[in-house]
Amino acid sequence: MKPSTCRRFVLALIALLALAALSACQREPQPEWRLTDVSGHLPDLDFKLTDDNGKSVTGADYKGKVVLMYFGYTHCPDVCPLTLTQLHVVLDRLGAPADKVRILFVSVDPKRDTPAIMHDYVNAFDKRAVGLVGSDGDVEALAKRYRSAFTREPDRADGNYEVSHSSAIYLFDAEGKARLLATPSASQDDIVHDLHLLTSMETRP
């Protein structure tokens, strides 16, 4: 081989190696999410609360399930039922993989929402929904962890009150990693699409 041929050969080899390295990177393609990808930007699913059967639960209890987490309260007659109904329709459309999904409805109204009230409420929407309650401090800590906010509005004349709250839906994979964020106005098609991807991802043993 002439020195110039040799040099050309080496260059070609380097180019080939670089290409191989590139394609290796692309071998693990990122899923084509339709919702907002928040991977790496929000902490893993972690909390200590009481479920709607009165049992203490932590984030680890939902390992192996894809989680849709939503903050709300039962005296909310419009937006919360609208969102929970949407999630119910989405899970029905998802079909069999919906068995691997749980809706976690976290109450931002600990004063009025007892586990029993939450139980009737969430089950009126979907059997795969779990109602979670906790002390003011525990719920605040969880909301803060996900940069969610809620405010109790002033009491009305009849003693009732509303609670304004973040309307986002947080999606966690089966390992409890925060993956996606959906707004209540997200299309059902997009949520179904991304849940198909999330439920079909391999979970590490």
């Binding site: 909310c76 007659p77 109904t85 309307s167």
Partner: protein, 151 residues
């Protein structure tokens, strides 16, 4: 001449009454009424579409129902990622236009049912207008996870 215009007016009046199945003194047709029944004594959201067939601007100033102790008009919003609800004093029904109360927007909040309301039952709501008129509406009770008057 005078009698003739009176007859025409009567005829027109009868025509308006005939086209609406809800007896509307105000010339507003009401369709697609439903309410979302929640468990226990939780408040229910009611939804309806108004069609103001008159050429007058009308204003809803309140609501009442024989089936609930209280009926309040609210508007939800999720602007800026915050879900909130505000009480609404008036809702404008522009002339020759439709306005829909729907989940995520205007709704009538029904509190303290006077008797258990079950899905499939009908509830009456009377919307009050600023000019003293009323718009009676019939809403069908639907389960918590319903998306509308029919699914």
């Amino acid at each position: 001449m005078r009698y003739r215009s009176l007859a025409v007016a009567l005829f027109l009046l009868a025509g308006t009454a005939g086209t609406s199945h809800a007896a509307d003194t105000a010339g507003v047709q009401v369709t697609g009424g439903w309410l979302r029944v929640l468990p226990g004594s939780l408040p229910a959201g009611g939804y309806v579409t108004f069609d103001n067939t008159t050429d007058r601007a009308l204003t809803i100033v309140g609501a009442e129902s024989p089936d609930y102790a209280e009926a309040m008009i609210h508007r939800s919003s999720t602007e800026g990622g915050m879900g909130r609800m505000e009480m609404v004093d008036t809702v404008a029904l522009p002339p020759k236009a439709k306005l829909t109360f729907a989940p995520g927007g205007y709704h009538v909040m029904l509190m303290q049912a006077k008797h258990p309301v079950k899905p499939g039952e009908k509830v009456t709501i009377t919307f009050k207008l600023s000019d003293g008129g009323t718009i009676p509406a019939t809403l069908i009770a639907r389960p918590a996870n319903a998306s509308g008057p029919t699914d």
